[in-house]
Assembly symmetry: C2
Homo-oligomer: 307 residues x 2
């Protein structure tokens, strides 16, 4: 069985882009054609709308990118109906050859962490995602169950290290002596990923790190600090991160990082910088255009051009 890191590497190389599309459906933001006649309280019908919308997005982006990142929160928001739809979206993304990184930021300890890992990671799990985002507040023993399951099932995790939000530094930047909270987290990620990568003779391991595009200096520092970890970089586009900001995320082959964009792609019809460019019924063309533009931009302005 191939490792998650090998599959991610292969797929990024085939698609020749590190662009990842975030599936963050929100009722108030999806194109009007999906909302028509549905009350904002009618969860089963909204779930059906998210289903149609997400499948349409997947059809558009699957030929262009390597991976998608469904945000579980927006499906949980619809109750069990949303979870049924999420399961079907993951399955369809796989049918289209996409790698699915679920954004759930799960964290717990012992058998409960093992429960989440069994739920989400890899073939044979209930949701069969390729990877899951995980939060490290509970420490090393909360991450080990995730890592064990991920390595065994050829899947991966991405640990929150330095997040893209303005308040992320409140705890993450706290420093004991010379080492900050995010650095200590990064060191654990690197240690675990290096062990696994070296044992397989691969460059990257199963434990990646989430590092926001909005902190370019830390992104460069963390690329150096975690040479064996794939980086998942959120915050590009809508949150303000630019191609220049994320250029340090890649290794010399243009690998080692996937760059996420959610709103700026899936709700591209509504982008201010696209004002007047796409009619309401051309929302699919807007999605395709935004995806192609981001791919081209990263190709031109970062080492992703070497892919």
């Amino acid at each position: 069985m191939d490792t998650f890191s090998k599959r991610l590497t292969d797929t990024v190389k085939i698609k020749k882009t590190p662009v990842m599309v975030g599936l963050d459906p929100r009722f108030s933001a999806i194109p009007e054609v999906f909302r028509r006649g549905i009350s904002p309280e009618d969860l089963p019908r909204i779930a059906r709308a998210y289903h149609r919308f997400s499948f349409a997005i997947l059809d558009i982006v699957a030929p262009l990118v390597a991976c998608v990142k469904p945000q579980i929160a927006f499906f949980e928001e619809l109750g069990p109906w949303g979870m049924v739809v999420l399961s079907d979206i993951i399955r369809y993304a796989h049918e289209l050859g996409l790698i699915v990184i679920l954004d759930g930021k799960r964290n717990d300890i012992g058998s409960t962490a093992a429960g989440y890992a069994a739920a989400y990671l890899g073939k044979g799990s209930a949701w069969e995602a390729d990877s899951l985002t995980v939060s490290p507040y509970l420490g090393e023993d909360s991450l080990i169950p995730f890592i064990n399951v991920a390595e065994k099932r050829g899947s991966g995790i991405f640990v929150l290290v330095k997040t893209s939000n303005p308040g992320g530094g409140m705890l993450q930047d706290m420093k004991e002596g010379e080492v900050s909270v995010y650095q200590k987290t990064a060191d654990l990620v690197e240690q675990k990923s290096a062990e696994f990568a070296l044992s397989r003779g691969e460059k990257y391991g199963a434990v990646g790190a989430v590092v926001g595009a909005t902190y370019p200096q830390q992104l460069e520092e963390l690329r150096q600090r975690m040479p064996h970890a794939w980086l998942l970089v959120p915050g590009f586009g809508a949150q303000g991160g630019t191609a220049k900001d994320i250029s340090a995320a890649f290794d010399d082959d243009g690998l080692g990082a996937v760059i996420n964009s959610s709103r700026a792609i899936i709700f591209a019809y509504d982008r201010k910088d696209y004002a007047g460019r796409f009619a309401a019924d051309k929302w699919e063309l807007a999605v395709e255009t935004a995806t192609r533009e981001m791919i081209a931009q990263l190709q031109a302005e970062t080492k992703a051009g070497r892919l």
Copy 2:
């Protein structure tokens, strides 16, 4: 509309106990009668078994305790089938008059955090829990959306502050100058809960804290540091916390803390210290006995006796 804190206070007073029962079903641990003939891969049938098992537990403990804490991980582990069952369990617990604190340790930022809050908190949400556990790694701006929704809907959150696991200290105990990560988190919890409590003329606010029973010294310190926050105390019993360890969690009226026990109650038939005491078909009597014993113990050995 009553606040979450008032409802929790009232219910704890009526039941005269801070004991909270954790619903952590695991296939390998539920009584044999529920497992019979089911393959460990048959998720829909396991979900049905969890449904029957959890409803039976609720019937037993509802007359005795104020609140229950379903652990979402074990339901997510079963895919959409588990989530349907979880939804029904929450509804039934409410019919029995129980307060439902969902243990999901969710965390995210901005509209995504608002998505989780809208999903889980209060009447009108998809899951209609009374409260949800939340992880603080992403900082203050990740907690605000949860707090806003909780206060508006008469529900609450419990923020992870100092967790019960051995490795919890890796990040939580890191210290910048005089202040540790868990203390900084505690100060934010206290600030937010105090603001809300004072504006309502109540003693406790909507933002509580998770503080493990396994660190009695920090429990005492944190009770002082967060006078306006309800504490959710895990780690009693199976994880090693004793009545003496958690006695500092209560205020002088025996309020301000709920003490969770999961495995030692719901799988009491299998407890080593009960060996030979309950026949396999007497698992319900074991649950009732374990619950009554924990209630009696906290009544005798802590300020909960003043309830």
